[in-house]
C-alpha cells in the first residue's frame, strides 16, 4: 500500500531579477492512500502529475509530509522502497544504460545476491518473457522504439517489484506498440500506477486521479474522472 500524508513538494526557482532563488510549490499538500490494483493519473503538461509519480519511489522527496510504501518511508529507506517500486520512464533511451539488452537486464539484477552466471541466465529468461530472446546481444541502439520500451519494462520487472509506476509509458509509441505495452501492463500481477495522456487507458483503471496546477482536483471512478478532466481542459483552452 502507498500512503501519502500531507505531502508538499517544493523546488528552487531562479529569480528573474537575479536575486536569491525563490522556493516555489510544485505539488500539494496532498494526502491519499493507493490500494487499487490499477491507478491512473491524468493531467495537463506541467500539472505536477510526474512529480506525484516520482514521489512514489523516492525519486522526488517531499519537502514536508511523508510518503510510505508498505510502511517504508521513501526519504529514510529509499533503497528499500526502490526495490519494492519499479519505475518506467517515457523515453527508454534515458532508462537503458548498458550497450546490449542482456547486459542491461543483468545490471538490474545486480542487487540480488546471485552469481554472474545466474544473473546472465535470469536476464535471458526475463528477455524471453517479453519476446526479446533473439535480441539479447543486439546493440540497444539497433532496436526499434517499441522494442526498447519492452526492454525497459523487462529490466524493471526482472527484480520483481511489488508496485510498478509508469510515467507516460506509451507516449512515444505508435498504435501497434502502444497496444502491446498496454496489454503487457494489463496482465501484470503487480499494482500498477500509470501516468498517461491516453484517456482510453485511464478508463480501464480502477481509480483515476486528475492533477491540475499542483493539486489533485478529482479522485474517483474512471468515467467521472475522465469527464472532469475533459471539462477542465476545455475551460483552460
Amino acid at each position: 500500500m502507498i500512503a501519502l500524508d500531507d505531502v508538499l513538494v517544493t523546488a528552487y526557482s531562479p529569480d528573474p531579477a537575479g536575486g536569491a532563488d525563490r522556493v516555489v510549490r510544485l505539488l500539494g499538500p496532498v494526502s491519499l492512500e493507493l490500494v487499487e490494483h490499477r491507478v491512473a493519473i491524468v493531467g495537463a503538461n506541467g500539472s505536477g502529475k510526474s512529480t506525484l509519480a516520482r514521489l512514489l519511489n523516492g525519486l522526488v522527496l517531499p519537502s514536508s509530509g511523508t510518503v510510505r510504501v508498505d510502511g517504508l518511508d521513501t526519504a529514510r529507506d529509499g533503497a528499500a522502497v526502490r526495490r519494492k517500486v519499479g519505475f518506467m520512464f517515457t523515453d527508454p533511451d534515458a532508462q537503458l544504460v548498458m550497450p546490449t539488452p542482456v547486459e542491461d537486464v543483468a545490471l538490474s539484477l545486480r542487487r540480488l545476491p546471485i552469481s554472474a552466471a545466474e544473473r546472465d541466465t535470469a536476464a535471458r529468461a526475463a528477455l524471453a518473457r517479453f519476446g526479446l530472446a533473439d535480441r539479447a546481444e543486439v546493440p540497444v541502439h539497433a532496436l526499434s522504439g517499441g522494442q526498447r520500451q519492452l526492454l525497459a519494462l523487462a529490466s524493471v520487472l526482472a527484480t520483481e517489484p511489488t508496485v510498478l509506476v509508469c510515467d507516460e509509458p506509451t507516449t512515444l509509441l505508435d498504435l501497434r506498440w502502444r497496444a502491446v505495452v498496454d496489454a503487457l501492463l494489463a496482465d501484470l500481477p503487480q499494482q500498477v500506477v500509470v501516468v498517461t495522456h491516453d484517456l482510453d487507458a485511464a478508463l480501464r483503471a480502477d481509480r483515476v486521479l486528475v492533477v491540475d496546477e499542483g493539486a489533485v482536483v478529482f479522485d474517483g471512478d474512471p468515467a467521472s474522472a475522465v469527464d472532469h478532466y475533459r471539462a477542465l481542459m476545455q475551460v483552460g483552452a
Binding site: 517544493t10 537575479g18 522556493v23 486521479l209 499542483g214 493539486a215 479522485d219
Partner: protein, 229 residues
C-alpha cells in the same frame, strides 16, 4: 479517500514554504560523467582538420573545457579521465578514430594527458568566474539600479567563463602539448612552440563556444549551478 485541499493557484502562498529536499546525487553524477565522456569522444571522432605535426584540429578541446565549466573540477576531471582511460584501453575514440596505448607513443601524447587536468582547472576557474559574476551583478545593481534592470542576470557569466576556459587550456593543454612534441619529435622549444601556435586561433574560438554553451546550459538547468561543486 483523498483530502487534497483546493489550492486555486500554484503561486507561492504568503506563508514560507519548506525548502526542497534533494535526493542523493550519486546516480546523476555518474550519468553526467559518462555522458560528457561520450560527448568528448563524439567530438574527437568527428573529422578534424589535419595538420603537419600529426595532431589534427578537432572539437575535442571544446568538449573538454565544456565538461569542466559545466560539471565543476571533480566531475569534469573524472569525465575527461574516463574518456582518456577508455581510449588508452583500446576503444578508437581518440581524434582520427585511433585508440590504445600506442597513442602514448605519438606526438599528441602531451595534449591527451593534459585533458583531465584542463577540465579540472576549467572547473576551478569556472567556479570562480560564476561566483565573480554573481558578485559583479549584485554590485552593479546596488550601484546603478536603473541601468541594471535591462541587463540579463548572466551578462557577466559569459566573458568570465571565456577567461576561465582560456586560462585552463593555456596553463595545461598547451604547455603539456609542447613538451610532448619536444620529446616525441626530438625538436627544440621554439620549434615545438611554432607547431603549437597553429592551434591557438581554433582554441580561442572553441573557448568562446564552450562558454556560450555553458551559459545556455545553466540557463536551461539552473540547479546545475547549485550542484556544481
Amino acid at each position: 479517500m483523498t483530502s487534497a485541499p483546493d489550492n486555486e493557484t500554484a503561486a507561492a502562498p504568503a506563508v514560507a514554504l519548506p525548502a526542497p529536499i534533494a535526493r542523493s546525487s550519486v546516480s546523476t553524477d555518474v550519468a553526467l560523467i559518462s555522458t560528457f565522456a561520450a560527448f568528448i569522444a563524439v567530438c574527437a571522432i568527428l573529422p578534424g582538420i589535419p595538420t603537419g605535426s600529426g595532431v589534427p584540429i578537432t572539437l575535442q578541446t571544446f568538449a573538454v573545457i565544456l565538461a569542466g565549466l559545466v560539471l565543476g573540477w571533480r566531475r569534469g576531471g573524472l569525465a575527461t579521465l574516463l574518456y582518456v582511460v577508455l581510449g588508452l584501453a583500446g576503444l578508437p575514440i581518440f581524434s582520427g578514430g585511433v585508440g590504445g596505448v600506442a597513442v602514448l607513443a605519438g606526438p599528441s601524447v602531451g595534449y591527451l594527458l593534459a585533458f583531465p587536468f584542463a577540465a579540472a582547472l576549467a572547473g576551478v576557474f569556472g567556479g570562480l568566474a560564476l561566483r565573480g559574476a554573481d558578485r559583479l551583478m549584485a554590485s552593479s545593481f546596488a550601484g546603478r539600479f536603473g541601468d541594471g534592470i535591462g541587463r540579463a542576470p548572466s551578462a557577466w557569466r559569459y566573458p568570465l567563463l571565456v577567461v576561465a576556459g582560456l586560462g585552463a587550456s593555456f596553463l595545461t593543454i598547451h604547455p603539456a602539448g609542447i613538451a610532448g612534441l619536444m620529446v616525441r619529435l626530438g625538436i627544440s622549444l621554439p620549434e615545438a612552440f611554432a607547431i603549437d601556435v597553429v592551434y591557438w586561433p581554433g582554441d580561442v574560438l572553441k573557448n568562446l563556444a564552450a562558454a556560450a554553451v555553458a551559459v545556455a546550459i545553466f540557463k536551461a538547468f539552473p540547479d546545475m549551478l547549485r550542484s556544481r561543486r
